[in-house]
Symmetry: C3
Subunit: 335 residues, 3 copies
């Protein structure tokens, strides 16, 4: 049954065996762990070809003509679902949006049976979001040879297309990654965004990666790349940073933080503010994966200031997802 | 935060400054107030070109090819959402249906951040329904120069595409508006439908506009055009009318009406019936915005009779929305 | 009002008068009762042309180009809704997915008014699922001459496209129906799947049709074709069967069964298992309409074994629905 189904957790090696074919091409996208610099660079390069300016016509293509993409979101989402939906349609796919909570799961069908059913309808790509660790790899392992699985958010563990759009945004502003100082700030412990960004940044050769959080929200040992520096002082963490990424924090998490009795105190200690940006590099950019809690993890004024690239991240997200969709379809076609 | 966000209410002049560009072209559609006869006539003329008969092929076009329309409904809706959805698709747009209640608002994101996020995905037109007064104008004021906002129902205040479809329906049956007597009947106080129809009818030069309601459901002073006559006796109001428009009443409102203890009494006093239609002009038409409470605000038999144009209103609604979508896209393209 | 609306139940003759035009062509699809062998064969033949193998491109067509299909599901569904959605889109239709529970019905609109509203938007085909007996025929009787109604699941009574996909699956594996022994197992009393399969199989001339259930879940007299044998012993029922179809049982039904205190006992008595398949023909196939309760009505291992054709049923479902959609559109076009 869905609620009691157990997913063996694939380890890093096994996930890469799953997500790359024997020629090293992207077969599924489960995690950024283990994707090499060349493959990520190729994805970012392709994503750039899908970008267009505000008010310009969107870039369209036919790489997915005749293909069907299913958005299978076991957690609610507006932005990521919409982003994949538009990415698929702009490449010519039929996109099926399935709200699985309200139907099959109620009836007690297992996740795999849902997948077996849908793949029998000739769905080529499943975009999966789930609150449980291990689901995308589990599905990839058991799905047909003719389908591809894309992880659109997996528990606290991984959000690889978010990681890619963060990389693209940084590359567009900074030209590359070498020598860069990147500060990721907030609830690192529970953030799939932080984890995927960290994995991607380390692969791309970032200079100094700082993960800054209250002590009780620091990442568990082994859950982030060893190259990352775990820090607890935001002023210190932001000093000289080229990129500052504020993470969303859930309000209920704040109430349990030692020495931080409320949101105002959280902002005082861990809020990314204009004042603190003076510590960063003069041309530093500010990022946030959204949705923002203005005034809690990020100062509202700063989010709307010229150094903020938050809406660019969203724009880049569609382009990155187009690149990923097109890549896995090419791999499927080459089998 | 969404729940506590305050929207400054744009006044009439400001709304028109927003919804028309400097050449007087339709840039957003926020309200019928202040749209002049020429602009409304042009919209109705274009809408007529999108009409086709029952069983005939629908009229399609490519005015929105490559464009993306987002239906952003903060209140549930079947008919208006479906109408905009079909209107957009029949003009070649990609249409994104977003049920915002179940996701972003739960996460506490502000309306503007939702808009900023979606416009970054290259959405060209936002179709917005909201229970709060002022939301469409607020969004139009803050959105990017490259997007257009269409009001698909705003609190009790305004429902401009409904007003336009009512105008088109009347014009198709009566040839024009001059000298016409129009009776709008029911819960005027809470009806955005009545308000938009009244505004449109006055602009188009209707002869005698009567707003008929129980005393406690009469419109507040200043909330309807001064040309409208406020009346409380339905027999008197329907006498000689060329057009009778019954409004939907919410059942819970009836229980609070003085001297009207239940739905039967409401029907007896304010129900539009075949019997009462004998007081109207011989060729009078009956309208209703739907969904109907048959037997409460309108006699069931009358709703299905030859003088009823209720389903024509729905058909005209798609055509009017196609005209509005095409118009704002032309305006965007001409910036 | 929706909740108290009464639907006269059309009898078999009346349903056929509704679903076939005067030339005997398919006008609506309400039930398999009364469709003759020739018509069903033609549908299956056409469905076969829409089949393609795993990993091959899907078959597409333009039979529904310019047409609009509305999925009007008053009961939740993932698989059937997705199947009709893809079938329509792969033939070029615009498909509108309407979740009616959350909107119009809340507002108290009658089903017919919902239909009248939507058909005024130039919807050509309504795909209707409803928990109440009689709804599809009721709608077909009152809808416009220009629309077609397809039953996508009606109470316990009928699920004709499921019946057709079951027939197609059997024909593809067994070559035909004559002389075949088919065992349908489980909660026959409440199964629209069993009823439609039984009706179709009898029309197609199946040799021996067995409906096997606990005594209290046997079909009511007259609710299944008289040719069917009502049985209560699964070993006896499966002996020599060419086709074994396990039905989904709702867990709450099991608790009321005499002598069957729980799901384990249900499986022991009425579960279709590998062990029991030894009683069936050597080349017997196993079917299930989904979603499965593995370990209750069907052994999990058996569902994944080579004799299982469960995912083929799903694949065939899309093809059958394409054939039905194309057929009724041809009939509409020939009026």
């Amino acid at each position: 049954m869905a609620l009691t189904e157990r997913f063996e957790i694939a380890d890093k090696t096994e996930q890469n065996d799953l997500q790359l074919d024997r020629h090293g091409r992207l077969r599924h996208l489960l995690t950024l762990q283990g994707l090499d610099r060349q493959l990520i660079t190729a994805l970012l390069d392709e994503a750039e070809t899908y970008l267009s300016g505000d008010g310009e016509p969107v870039v369209r293509g036919d790489a997915l003509a005749g293909r069907t993409v299913a958005n299978l979101f076991f957690e609610p989402s507006t932005r990521t679902r919409a982003s994949f939906d538009l990415a698929g349609r702009r490449l010519g796919a039929d996109v099926l949006n399935l709200d699985v909570n309200t139907s099959s799961r109620k009836k007690g069908e297992s996740i795999l049976d849902t997948i077996y059913t849908l793949q029998a309808m000739h769905i080529d790509i499943f975009v999966v979001r789930d609150a449980q660790n291990g689901v995308p790899a589990y599905i990839a392992k058991h799905a047909s040879d003719h389908v591809s699985i894309l992880n659109a958010g997996e528990s606290d563990v991984s959000h690889p297309t978010q990681g890619l759009l963060d990389l693209l945004t940084i590359r567009l502003h900074k030209g590359g990654f070498e020598g860069l100082t990147v500060a990721i700030v907030g609830d690192i412990a529970h953030s799939r965004v932080a984890r995927s960004a960290a994995e991607g940044l380390v692969t791309m050769g970032v200079g100094d990666l700082r993960l800054i959080s209250p002590a009780s929200l620091a990442p568990e040992a082994g859950s982030v790349p060893p190259q990352a520096r775990i820090m607890h002082d935001l002023d210190e963490g932001m000093r000289g940073a080229d990129v500052v990424m504020a993470l969303r924090i859930q309000r209920e998490r704040i109430t349990n933080l030692e020495g931080i009795p409320g949101v105002d105190e959280y902002f005082a200690h861990f809020g990314v503010s204009s004042e603190r940006m003076k510590l960063a590099a003069a041309d530093a950019i500010v990022m946030h994966p959204g949705p923002m809690n203005r005034g809690i993890e990020i100062e509202s004024k700063l989010a709307d200031s010229p150094c903020s690239v938050i809406t660019e991240q969203v724009r880049n997200g569609v382009a990155v997802r187009m690149a990923v969709l097109a890549s896995v379809i090419r791999t499927l076609g080459a089998q």
